[in-house]
Symmetry: C3
Subunit: 202 residues, 3 copies
């Protein structure tokens, strides 16, 4: 089940990455790169930081084909994707939770310390978007928009606590999805966001 | 032969990196860093993604000295390099092909899957330029200019096919250079480029 | 002693990172990320480049808590930190030297070649600031301001020479701090900087 959601999520992430590239007038190669990194960049950074080689997607060429295909498909479908943006926001929320849970479980299996497990989940969840924004030359939106990283943090924390308590993985994962997706949807609906720190030297 | 072309290529890349740093008014340390990363950054990213440690240039201090020297030499020679830019575009094309072939052969040797081999070649070929542009705070030109990444892709694909067919490496490498450099030169001459995806949400 | 200076330095770096995030109106999560990367990003890049896994801070959760706490604490203290900026410039100079010495000793222990040892020291010293600036979407200041990377270079070179000469580590480290911090303070006082390479194609 987590795998299916993961596949849907990387497809959706690749498509939104492609649209971001289109806003910067990139050529189709640039679109492919941004689509790839938006979808698989988070897992790549996590694997490098955890020293987990070979990196996940290098052992799954089918993921590579999938995200490249999705990125290319986004070009003719741009208008449709834009019209369906509520659907994509939902898929993106699913992906955020799926990536976070996968990242946590990888770090847990490698027996890293607790804060590292939480960070591994969050890196997997959000680094793809950060890379996309850096390559598109803008300040990463995850640092400035509605609750996003916070959702990843809460899901990671819940996963870690429930794992420590010995709760069966199925229940842990389901809880993560219910809590995470609901929170993200509510944040989008009511424009919930973290307090902003604005500082200007006088 | 490939090694000699490689050395010429990293020298040329370091010099063009230095000029890019000069356009941003960096100090000579910044020039050295950008020269280094433009020349050796692609191989560094490839080695990290493939989990291949120690990273190539750490075992070849002479490469480090060479690219730093080339970057520094570019400062008094800036006008000359600019006047010779057709020569540098040719050297850059040589480098693009050499980097791509080296990247593919490294991944092939490590028994990675086929799309990973192609990606390893392309990463080696183009990541240096991407890092240079991100540090100089602009959208990477390889995502927007004449055929560049596409040349790397075609060379990588040709290399992979010819290796699978058991064609001797000498012929494979020669073919890669002839095809790749010719294609890149034609693309520059006739301003061939990939279709651009321009998208603006309405 | 080096450890205590290190802890003071990562605290100070985290705080200045937080202020940089505040200038970009990031939310408190963004502040935490920038604080973390400014303080621990240099060591992370060094460990990845040297292929040294697990990465340092993953084995020291207390460092993670410390820099996150410091970053958060910087928010209410922003005005005070700004008023104390001479103090922070001094702490930053201490940190620059401490990071450089630690980076060199890590690479030396792993038996890397001499230029790699120097680069490991410099990466540890300055990469955190570079990452901070890239994520805040500006050209890295270490490439453009008063002697900073040069101080790291001189400290690294001195460390390497004195180690080769078999001078006891205590003396080497003390010399590094005296020379490095003095040089940095003088550079700030008299606005010493490396020559700038300004280049505009005509």
């Amino acid at each position: 089940m987590l795998t299916i959601i993961y596949l849907i999520a990387i497809t959706a992430e690749a498509m939104t990455g492609a649209l971001a590239a289109g806003r910067r007038n990139m050529d189709i190669f640039g679109v492919a790169v941004i689509a790839f990194l938006t979808a698989l960049g988070g897992g790549t950074v996590r694997d490098i930081v955890l020293g987990r080689f070979p990196i996940g997607w290098t052992q799954h060429p089918e993921y590579i084909y999938l995200v490249l295909f999705a990125g290319m498909a986004a070009i003719p479908l741009a208008r449709t994707i834009h019209r369906l943006s509520p659907v994509f926001l939902f898929l993106d929320a699913l992906g955020l939770v799926a990536f976070t849970l996968i990242g946590c479980s990888v770090a847990l299996e490698m027996k890293y310390a607790e804060p590292v497990i939480i960070m591994a989940g969050m890196i997997t969840g959000i680094a793809g978007g950060v890379i996309r924004d850096v390559l598109c030359n803008r300040v990463p939106v995850v640092f400035r928009q509605e609750l996003y990283a916070s959702v990843s943090f809460i899901v990671a924390l819940a996963y870690l606590l429930m794992s420590k308590l010995g709760i069966p993985e199925g229940i842990t994962i389901t809880t993560g999805f219910v809590v995470g997706v609901t929170l993200r949807m509510l944040a989008l609906r009511w424009h919930l966001s973290l307090p902003v720190f604005s500082w200007e030297a006088k």
